[in-house]
């Protein structure tokens, strides 16, 4: 919260856009503003009405360097925008640095994302230290069509203005905490000696030489990728990682998404009845890759580039009672299967489970 807890006394607020950046179409700027305002009106009783006359509670403008508010902008990058807490006059106003590369997609700086953050200040919120929060001070891109206001921001704004008037209260994504005993994973893969754990729009990155776990947005490394990766595996020999979501897959070659992806999973030999892959791992010593879907698994020969005959087979018949597999990876000759908050260590030579642990055992909690 901002010191002194400033808030608007009225629920029905007005806004005005005084000028437009030449870098975007006027209609795209209007759309970004409306979408950013709805981020907050969707979770509170607040409403925003566009005002054509001079007065408005929130005045949005693009400004250049020193624009006479004691907070000059600094040119491209650095400070992208700022806003003023609720109040008369300049109170609630949003200033956007005209020298930034404003866009409506992942290039440059997405106007919608920055506006939604600044409007949080206009409504009385201060910065949050939750790295997944919209009110976190640094810029991070999320595809606007995938954007969900995080729970941290919902809690903050509702503490000021109360809950939404809708019958069902909106909730938002929570930032994963590495040592949360209830943490489960969407997918896991090794990547050049590190282990990458995928969860929602995040990836937890564990380097064997570093004690702490690094949390990043998937989009920070791979802006083209969607959130919610469902399966992943590393083909160490080809120095590639394959990432799956629904019926598509991407190839990361080195650290970059290879051109020409995503492709359909059916190219790998799955039948059309298969709509998604739950988990995968690749056995470097045999060149065989295992795909887990529901209670069955397929085996793919990386050298022949085709599925082996005689599959799918039942998971339980060859891997034991590990249930549905959320995520899997192979390391140092063992395969680690993740089912909810449980992790099974499987020895492919002995063909049996040799250990059962918590899902977060890799994070030095």
């Amino acid at each position: 919260f901002t010191t002194g807890n400033p808030k608007w006394k009225r629920k029905n607020l007005t806004y005005r856009i005084t000028n437009y950046t030449p870098k975007m179409r006027k209609t795209d700027v209007d759309e970004a503003v409306q979408k950013a305002l709805s981020v907050w009106s969707n979770v509170t009783p607040l409403t925003f009405q566009k005002s054509e006359d001079k007065e408005a509670d929130i005045v949005i403008s693009f400004a250049y360097r020193d624009h006479h508010d004691n907070s000059p902008f600094d040119g491209p990058n650095g400070q992208l925008a700022h806003a003023f807490q609720p109040g008369e006059g300049i109170g609630g106003d949003v200033h956007l640095d005209e020298e930034e590369a404003w866009t409506k997609d992942g290039r440059g700086y997405n106007l919608f994302i920055v506006l939604a953050h600044e409007l949080g200040h206009s409504l009385g919120l201060s910065h949050s230290n939750d790295p997944g929060a919209l009110m976190y001070p640094t810029y991070s891109y999320t595809p606007p069509n995938e954007f969900l206001l995080p729970q941290d921001d919902i809690d903050g704004i509702q503490a000021i203005y109360g809950q939404s008037t809708t019958a069902v209260q909106p909730t938002g994504p929570v930032t994963p905490q590495a040592c949360d005993p209830n943490l489960t994973f969407d997918a896991i893969t090794t990547l050049r000696g590190e282990i990458i754990f995928f969860k929602g729009r995040y990836m937890l990155r564990k380097h064997p030489e570093r004690a702490e776990t690094e949390l990043n947005f998937i989009s920070l490394f791979w802006p083209q990728l969607p959130s919610g990766i469902q399966a992943a595996y590393e083909n160490v020999e080809r120095d590639e990682v394959l990432l799956f979501k629904e019926d598509k897959y991407w190839v990361v070659r080195g650290y970059d998404i290879a051109p020409g992806y995503p492709k359909q999973i059916y190219r790998l030999g799955f039948p059309k009845t298969i709509k998604r892959v739950n988990a995968a791992y690749s056995d470097e010593s045999t060149g065989k890759t295992y795909f887990f879907i529901a209670d069955r698994y397929w085996r793919y020969d990386e050298n022949k580039k085709s599925m082996d005959h005689g599959y799918p087979r039942k998971i339980v018949s060859d891997f034991g009672k590990i249930g549905r597999v959320d995520a899997a990876f192979q390391k140092d000759g063992y395969v680690y299967f993740f089912h909810g908050t449980t992790q099974f260590q499987f020895d492919p030579r002995a063909k049996r489970i040799v250990r059962k642990q918590k899902s977060i055992s890799w994070f030095n909690c």
Binding site: L80, D97, H127, P137
Partner: protein
């Protein structure tokens, strides 16, 4: 690339750190040379506050992770509460 001489690099780093902490952590700068040591403590304390906010290792020193965070594009509003 031509290698930036170390002293110049240090000067640049110090300038980045000072302006970041002035902009976002309410660092007050005393430019009188005879109280340099107190302002250095003050700067280290502000640096620790910034590192704690971002969940970085709290060292009070401009280590690589801290500098990387300072270079990230961000909102112009300070992170400390007493900004009005």
């Amino acid at each position: 690339y031509p290698v930036v001489p170390e002293a110049e690099d240090e000067e640049k780093t110090l300038k980045l750190v000072e302006s970041y902490l002035q902009n976002f952590y309410d660092l007050q700068m005393d430019h009188q040379p005879h109280i340099r040591s107190r302002s250095e403590n003050h700067l280290a304390a502000k640096l620790k506050e910034m590192q704690a906010f971002f969940g970085l290792e709290v060292t009070g020193k401009p280590d690589p992770e801290t500098l990387e965070m300072m270079k990230k594009p961000r909102c112009g509003i300070p992170d400390v509460q007493n900004y009005v």
